[in-house]
Subunit: 217 residues, 2 copies
Amino acid sequence: MRIGVLGTGMAGRAIGSRLVELGHEIRLGARSAGNPGSLDWLRQAGGSASAGTFADAASFGERIFNCTAGMHSLDALGAAGAENLAGKLLVDVSNPLDYSGGALPSFAVSNTDSLGEQIQRAFPDARVVKSLNTMNNAVMVKPALVPGEHVVFVCGNDATAKQEAADLLGQFGWPDERILDLGDISAARGTEMYLALWLRLWGAIDATHFNIAIARA
Amino acid sequence: MRIGVLGTGMAGRAIGSRLVELGHEIRLGARSAGNPGSLDWLRQAGGSASAGTFADAASFGERIFNCTAGMHSLDALGAAGAENLAGKLLVDVSNPLDYSGGALPSFAVSNTDSLGEQIQRAFPDARVVKSLNTMNNAVMVKPALVPGEHVVFVCGNDATAKQEAADLLGQFGWPDERILDLGDISAARGTEMYLALWLRLWGAIDATHFNIAIARA
């Protein structure tokens, strides 16, 4: 499958590399085609990998991952082009973390709205599924790095899109029973605001390879 | 030990009853001494239990639990009296959930502040520890209701107060290794905003007896 991955940070590169490993054709998208992060990634990613602008990656992909920094996601998706996102699964991995205030980030959007919802509203023809934003990028694509029955969340307004996202998560190594459907895209409020707890857990655990599991009666 | 429990809702009554069962002397506090919830609780709680106003309960207790509804916690603690809270452990179980907008609550405070921090600022001589606010009230006081290595969080500015809180959590049944110290009281932002995820998990799991565990490498 041809997949466009927007964003050349840690998450975009990890997801891009894993999808190449799984046999997909990946195009990594950045603000400019000659982005140093893209070129560095291309050297490691191997044969079927390519890189270009956000629009190049979005038009190439049958499915799209948004791995851009949350503060810039709406701009990046605008540059990708609504026409290149229309009708496609758009897995939104971003978090609206604003680091401008110092070490502890705040949320650029939270409480009664979320970045996932903003993206779905701005690109109504894209089929947005929020997922994978609740953990370290290495764990996203190789959940077996962390033992135990830890979980990944999906939410979105399109049930078929959630199934397509779950299929990709399954390829990453997530068993069906550990993919939790939280409902419509407004559940992105919960998975994005969870980052405030995640950041403090990161500090308390002093390691990035962790995730939450749901214990139930 | 004499413990004051502020609030006659589900959490206050569950915590009050469990503390009576553990052999402590409990006074439940409400806006008025003749609160129907208090009287109903008194009939069930047995010998060492008593009830009164917020001030009665706070002056009685060597340690205090704030189990009032988050929207009213600052008022309730004001009625309890700063002088009755000074120097004491104040375990803050509240969440600033505002249900006035409809079925899905929003947060009255979030992102760059939290109710835990507001309480600590308003009552600087109280030793505030945020805890237990991330789960159903039955699970708070009997963690064995849910199998597995699920966790409870503590945060606060006073290390001794956190140890006192952990001792009470231990009496409820929380083993030391499942009591996670997230740092100072600003970590309350994370545990309070987690409620947005908790509410969606509640919907997805369709049961209240659940909690999160931390899987780690």
